[in-house]
């Protein structure tokens, strides 16, 4: 088992952001994490990746309890994430962003000469090769998303946490992104993704977990969750026909 969320709760002053969340992610799976805004999805990501400490509960990654580890330590173990509010390294070029990503993760290249080719490969894979010398802060949304993804990939992760990588993309870009994620998964990377774009979720994910007000209200196969009445009530909308194909933002 790649990742186990064991009874994770997170309380901020007065706000219970996460309440006893339990689920797991198998190796090489693609799991979707969905739910209304404010449900606690990004908070959960922050707990999984180490940016927040849970108030209670454990994160078990590849059989090891990583709950007290810092984010950079989890990166060294093969966990990589993207940020919903994108955080590129603004005054560094796209190429440098990805080189950085590949120098400090598990890949741990000694120097630029070694990290360079690896970075080039990833840039090509994510379609950013032409823009390698552009300063990250100059990029448009779609490219920024690609950069987030590229930088996370550069760390050669076993587990990739994607936080709304497709928000703000148009139809064609979304399809490209879906294909990209599938490729990544095929190469052996386990993926846990937060998404609002239902079409993408339904196409990609083998399993879906639904959060609402910090609690898990559903977990299961795509069919099971999509047709779950509670889920439809609070998130997907009452029109059953549209539930599977609409783009919910």
């Amino acid at each position: 088992m790649m990742l186990q969320i064991q009874n994770v709760s997170k309380k901020f002053r007065g706000l219970q952001a996460l309440n006893d969340v339990i689920f797991s992610v198998q190796e090489k799976e693609i799991v979707g994490l969905i739910g209304p805004n404010g449900a606690g999805k990004t908070t959960l990501f922050n707990v999984i990746s180490g940016f927040y400490q849970p108030s209670s509960g454990h994160i078990i990654y590849k059989g090891t309890d990583v709950t007290t580890l810092q984010p950079f330590q989890r990166c060294a173990l093969g966990m990589a994430r993207t940020f919903q509010i994108m955080k590129p390294l603004p005054y560094m070029s796209v190429l440098d962003n990805v080189i950085a990503g590949s120098m400090f993760g598990r890949n741990c290249s000694r120097n630029v000469a070694v990290a360079g080719p690896h970075a080039f490969g990833i840039l090509e894979f994510t379609g950013l090769l032409k823009k390698q010398n552009v300063l990250a802060k100059e990029l448009g949304t779609a490219d920024r998303k690609r950069l987030e993804l590229a930088r996370a990939l550069a760390a050669k992760p076993d587990l990739l946490l994607l936080d709304e990588v497709m928000s703000g993309l148009n139809h064609a870009e979304t399809e490209e992104c879906v294909a990209l994620i599938r490729e990544i998964n095929k190469s052996g990377v386990t993926i846990l993704l937060i998404e609002h774009i239902m079409k993408a979720v339904v196409t990609l994910c083998e399993k879906i977990v639904v959060l609402h007000h910090g609690e898990k209200i559903a977990e299961g196969s795509v069919d099971a969750v999509m047709n779950d009445q509670t889920v439809i009530d609070i998130y997907l909308g009452k029109d059953d026909d549209k539930a599977l194909t609409s783009t919910v933002n």
Partner: protein, 288 residues
């Protein structure tokens, strides 16, 4: 023995009042614009020199020149804000603002050096040397008058910020600039006003300081740092906090001087400052 302690406490409160005023000025600027004004002390110096000029050339009593100084400082503040600072706001990196205000600090210090030389200057009034007996201790009259005016100014500031329309607008801008803009507040004007007020407060502190202190080009340096200590002690953006923080700092300084000796009082102040700064930040990040 206790007489000395009372003296120490009184002095602490009196000097603390000034730190409070400096802290309040810094808070207005910082609270609204989130910039760290490294030249706050130099604004105090400018106020002192202005008062000195009014007194020595026009024969004005320093306290009477207060309104004049305040107005001039407000204009100066407005010019600085609008010309140099507002254009830099909004950049992700606030290092530019730091260095801009540092540059202003250097400029003001050295202009003063050029214009006034490094001489120590002060003013003498009819009552400069008069003393009052308070709680069995001897206290210099100007110090007491200054403290009184200080309290008055604090009340004015508080009333202005809390009760007046403009004051509310300033507070709105400090809490949420985007929201403030949405409700029709001209935030650029609020920025200018805030800096003007901050500068005026520093200038006023200078006017009140001159009667029993002396002015020289570097006088601002210690006050800037202490103003920051006050802000850290009292909480960012809190006028009440700055007042209390200032008094506490004054007491800390005089008591520190009493305990470890006057030559080390700076170290006491700075080390306490560092301790609080660091502890507070650690507590904040622990909450995550």
């Amino acid at each position: 023995m206790s007489g000395v302690v009372v003296q120490v406490v009184i002095n602490g409160i009196l000097v603390g009042g000034f730190y409070a005023l400096m802290g309040m000025g810094l808070n207005v600027i910082f609270g609204v614009m989130k910039i760290v004004n490294f030249c706050q002390g130099e604004l105090l110096m400018v106020g002192m020199y202005l008062t000195y000029l009014f007194t020595s050339t026009l024969g004005l009593d320093p306290y009477l020149s207060l309104p004049l100084v305040a107005i001039i400082m407000m204009c100066l503040g407005a010019v600085i804000q609008h010309g140099l600072i507002t254009p830099l706001l909004g950049a992700a990196n606030d290092s530019n603002l730091i260095f801009m205000t540092v540059g202003l600090m250097m400029l003001m210090q050295n202009l003063a050096l050029v214009l006034f030389k490094s001489d120590y200057r002060t003013v003498q009034t009819g009552y400069s040397l008069k003393n009052i007996h308070l709680l069995g201790q001897v206290v210099s009259l100007p110090k007491l008058i200054s403290f009184g005016v200080l309290i008055f100014v604090t009340f004015l500031l508080y009333a202005f910020l809390m009760k007046s329309e403009t004051g509310k607008r300033i507070r709105a801008t400090s809490q949420n600039p985007i929201g403030a803009r949405l409700v029709g507040i001209n935030i650029n004007r609020m920025y200018i006003l805030s800096y003007a007020i901050g500068a005026a407060l520093a200038g006023i502190a200078g006017t009140l300081l001159l009667p029993f202190y002396y002015v020289f080009p570097m006088v601002g340096a210690t006050f800037t740092l202490r103003a920051f200590v006050v802000v850290v002690l009292g909480g960012l953006g809190s006028i009440k906090g700055a007042f209390v923080g200032g008094i506490v700092l004054g007491l800390l300084e005089t008591m520190g001087a009493f305990v470890v000796g006057p030559q080390f009082k700076d170290s006491v102040v700075f080390l306490t400052f560092l301790a609080i700064l660091i502890l507070r930040q650690h507590l904040v990040s622990r909450a995550r």
